[in-house]
């Protein structure tokens, strides 16, 4: 028999215990899918600031954190919420107003960097990006380089050190974030994690991070999740905090549980256009609701039923996504 562990906690306790101002944070999920929204909203409620985000393609969660003024710098490959915001409005504004510092990479490069961090590699090489401005231009100032978690070099282009005829390669610094935030479908009581559908780079992010917070649709008995270990994604001892959060990725999707919420994302698109209306969004949707129960009451039954996933398909067929 497995026993309940002290890893299971509220979003408030997880954020208070594990997230400090200035931390480097990897956000799990991808644009409109499995963003750890419940934890992100708690980070905003706890007014964490100067956060240093490291992501591949984000996403609704990144938009919220930037808009709420929690973010100081970002290393990323892509900032958008798919068709609802081809470029994230709050990301775009913060970039143009220079209220955040941004360093651009590609998705593969960011994924390889998490992987290198997870594997303890000093650097990792790819052919992706040769001759581009990704290898030639720098968003972070030279004075900042090498300070705190900012790598000494964004990357370097070198001759293939192994194969004489290999030509140039791009070598990238590893990432070891202070915290990885993941939203998963299942967590065992001891922390074994199961992600259904695509895992994006969540597994690499979690393995690379010093601290891992996982919110989940369901906490299940550890012996239950271990009956089918082939389907599990992360070993229990990698995870530091489990936050039960049904619909915890809303308004982004969670495969087999719910679709993305077009109503909410279209509404968000409108409010994200200016800071005043975005602040009202925070007052309406973020600050008042510390628990998922209260938040979901606000979303309402009707909209939750609309996005409820069909258990054969994993999404909501016929959902009006205009």
């Amino acid at each position: 028999m497995s026993t309940m562990t002290d890893k299971i906690m509220t979003a408030r306790k997880a954020v208070d215990t594990f997230i400090k101002d200035g931390d480097q944070i990897a956000l799990g999920g991808f644009t409109v899918n499995r963003n750890p929204m419940h934890i992100i909203r708690e980070i905003i409620r706890r007014k964490k600031n100067r956060l240093y985000l490291v992501v591949h393609s984000h996403g609704q969660g990144m938009e919220l954190l930037i808009g709420a003024g929690c973010v100081e710098r970002i290393e990323l490959a892509y900032g958008g919420v798919a068709r609802f915001a081809p470029t994230g409005y709050l990301f775009k504004k913060a970039f143009k107003d220079k209220t955040i510092e941004v360093e651009d990479y590609s998705n593969y490069q960011m994924t390889l960097r998490f992987m290198a961090g997870a594997m303890g590699l000093p650097f990792i090489a790819t052919k992706s990006g040769l001759e581009s401005d990704i290898v030639r231009k720098f968003g972070f100032s030279p004075q900042m380089r090498g300070k705190g978690k900012i790598p000494e070099h964004k990357l370097k282009v070198i001759d293939d050190p192994i194969n004489e005829n290999g030509g140039k390669v791009v070598v990238l610094p590893p990432l070891n974030p202070d915290v990885a935030l993941i939203h998963a479908q299942y967590a065992g009581e001891k922390g074994t994690i199961r992600i259904n559908g695509l895992s994006f780079a969540d597994i690499e992010q979690a393995k690379a991070a010093k601290t891992v917070i996982v919110s989940c649709e369901e906490v299940v008995p550890e012996d239950y999740i271990r009956r089918d270990p082939d389907r599990n994604s992360l070993a229990h001892f990698i995870v530091d905090a489990i936050v039960p959060a049904p619909f915890g990725a809303h308004p982004t999707a969670c495969h087999m549980y719910y679709d993305y919420d077009p109503n909410h994302l279209n509404y968000f698109k409108k409010v994200a256009q200016d800071q005043d209306s975005f602040n009202r969004y925070l007052d309406e949707w973020v600050y008042p609701f510390e628990t998922m129960e209260d938040y979901l009451t606000k979303v309402g039954f009707k909209d939750l039923l609309k996005i409820k996933a069909n258990s054969a398909l994993g999404y909501a067929p016929g959902l009006d996504r205009r």
């Binding site: 900032g79 470029t87 651009d104 590609s106 998705n107 994924t111 992706s128 990006g129 030509g167 597994i203």
Partner: protein
């Protein structure tokens, strides 16, 4: 008024480049349509995969994002970014990537990152995502563009994704193992790249426009001497696109 829209002819034209055994790297928007419609019309065995890790999904409903849960259904494998992006450059596979961009130059190099500079930013786009990876590693890329003077530029504000670099053998000399843009599909026509110089030329123009108009909307000198008029989309193909692929006109937009 034509009986089809620019986005419809773009999706069908881009789809026609797909061969039956191609492995297609699809992004959002029109590229999703082109890949999906090609599979339904003439390339049923073409494999569509997404950088997020959805490998060969059934695509019963049109995904709106590469991370849409609709890319996770009926797949051969549900995996992850590391897995999907490593397929791109695999020498065993003819991987074709569909990409869009804010700016393109005469060698098919792309900008999807910004206008202006980091110091003096004028406009921000989402960034590379997997575009730079696809342009660097895939067997070939097909680019979607809105054909506007400000988008077909002499010099990119930011060089996100490598095309033919500065033409001739420069791509190979830079250290790339393969790849390069095969075609640019715009709302006015199809552009290709000269075998030797790797410079863009007009290959086809849609029935509702002409080569001179296209040249006037291109910010660099465009060779229009090889241009042919493209035939209009076939009715049965339009029907598949409208009724099966994008019935809600989520990507096609209003008629």
């Amino acid at each position: 008024m034509e009986p089809y829209t620019a986005s419809e002819i773009m999706a069908l034209t881009a789809g026609s480049f797909v061969q039956n055994n191609d492995i297609l790297f699809a992004g959002t928007g029109l590229s999703m349509l082109a890949a999906t419609v090609a599979k339904r019309i003439h390339a049923p065995d073409a494999i569509v995969f997404f950088e997020t890790g959805g490998i060969d999904p059934s695509l019963a409903e049109l995904p709106l994002a590469v991370a849409d849960p609709r890319v996770m259904v009926g797949t051969s494998v549900n995996s992850c970014l590391a897995d999907a992006l490593s397929i791109l450059g695999h020498p065993k596979f003819r991987t074709i990537a569909f990409l869009g961009a804010a700016q393109i130059d005469c060698y098919g190099n792309l900008n999807s990152t910004m206008l202006g500079t980091y110091e003096n930013p004028e406009q921000r786009f989402p960034g590379s995502g997997g575009a730079c990876d696809a342009a660097s590693l895939a067997y070939g890329i097909i680019v979607f563009m809105q054909h506007e003077y400000r988008r077909f530029v002499k010099r990119l504000d930011y060089f996100t994704s490598p095309g033919w670099l500065s033409g001739y053998n420069s791509r190979q000399e830079a250290g790339f193992l393969r790849g390069g843009p095969m075609a640019v599909v715009t709302n006015l026509g199809v552009l290709k790249f000269d075998d030797i110089t790797k410079m863009m030329y007009l290959d086809q123009y849609y029935p509702f426009t002409d080569p001179e108009t296209i040249a006037s909307k291109t910010g660099f000198d465009l060779d229009i001497s090889r241009a042919k008029k493209c035939s209009p989309p076939k009715e049965d193909e339009l029907k598949i696109l409208r009724q099966e692929v994008d019935p809600q006109r989520l990507i096609l937009g209003p008629i």
